[in-house]
């Protein structure tokens, strides 16, 4: 899948940083960079935000394009270490793009939340509200733990699953959940902060119990 080498990526980022001196070269580099990573990032955004995609026009493209613009404008924020091999750099760049896209999406959804209330209005005569479920593929090629997690996710209601994934999505070690995200969730699901916490705690417990029942790993005795 990957074709770019570490040195090529370094050159691309360098050309971005010299865009004011040589715009033509920067543009060429941007085209190569976009062709290298846009498919991957589109898939990442699509899979992670299936539920939100239904409600917003061109969401995947907007998030992907904005993420590419951020790298184009601040190329030297991405760190390439001397010891990194071609493959390391490729994976790091993909992870870095995902972090940018995640933050970008959060920003866009928050702005939208501030701008507009989420009320149901059917103003199109042919429109009927029938949102799709988050698709859980009972796919093959999964590791044992992936399969276990898929199975337990399928036991949750669509609403609980959506809430759980949204809360996990903003999880940062040692930090409280962002207030704006919690406010967005309570508004969209017409529920309370306390209820969201309860759902999260209930789902966490189920996941842990399911893993305990279905794996040989046992909790350490104290």
């Amino acid at each position: 899948m990957n074709t770019l080498k570490k040195a090529e990526l370094e050159e691309i980022l360098l050309k971005f940083s010299y865009k004011e001196e040589n715009e033509l070269e920067a543009h060429k580099a941007f085209t190569i960079f976009y062709h290298e990573y846009s498919k991957y990032l589109s898939k990442v955004v699509f899979e992670a935000k299936r539920a939100a995609i239904y409600f917003y026009e061109d969401l995947v493209d907007i998030v992907v394009n904005n993420s590419f613009l951020i790298i184009y404008n601040s190329p030297l924020d991405f760190n390439i270490e001397d010891q990194d091999c071609d493959l390391d750099v490729d994976k790091k760049m993909k992870g870095y793009l995902a972090v940018i896209a995640k933050n970008e999406l959060k920003g866009l959804l928050n702005k939208k939340y501030c701008l507009q209330e989420h009320d149901l209005t059917i103003d199109d005569k042919d429109f009927s509200f029938d949102p799709p479920e988050i698709e859980i593929n009972r796919a093959h090629n999964l590791s044992y733990n992936q399969r276990i997690l898929q199975e337990v996710l399928l036991t949750f209601s669509e609403r609980d699953r959506l809430i759980l994934l949204s809360v996990y999505d903003c999880h940062e070690v040692g930090k409280k959940r962002p207030k704006d995200i919690m406010a967005w969730l309570t508004k969209v699901h017409n529920t309370t902060d306390m209820n969201i916490r309860k759902i999260k705690s209930r789902c966490d417990k189920k996941i842990k119990e399911y893993f305990e029942r279905n794996t040989t790993l046992k909790p350490l005795k104290r």
Binding site: K39, K43, A48, F55, H118, I134, Q146, L149, Y168
Partner: protein
Amino acid sequence: MIQINNILKLLESLGYLFPTNPETVTEFEKRYGKEIEEIKPKHWDNPLEILKKGKIEHIRIISKIKNPSYEGLAQAARNGTAISDEMKRKMLEDRNNAKD
């Protein structure tokens, strides 16, 4: 016992969350490799259009929701079937009558 970090890693590798570290990127690619290749992003033929347009700061809502779980229950009550055309026509008629 499975820890929160392991759950997060698994969710990233499955694509439910953004895969942000090399390990989950590898797993994600393993899972979706073929589908990734088949995607054609909107600006594939002219990426420079993105630079011309600049950053987009707002997104447009396609449909608005008030209580998705209520809608889910309504659909469940219909045994999971969508609203029929006949039913939609009747609902619209009722709504228009109510306006008059």
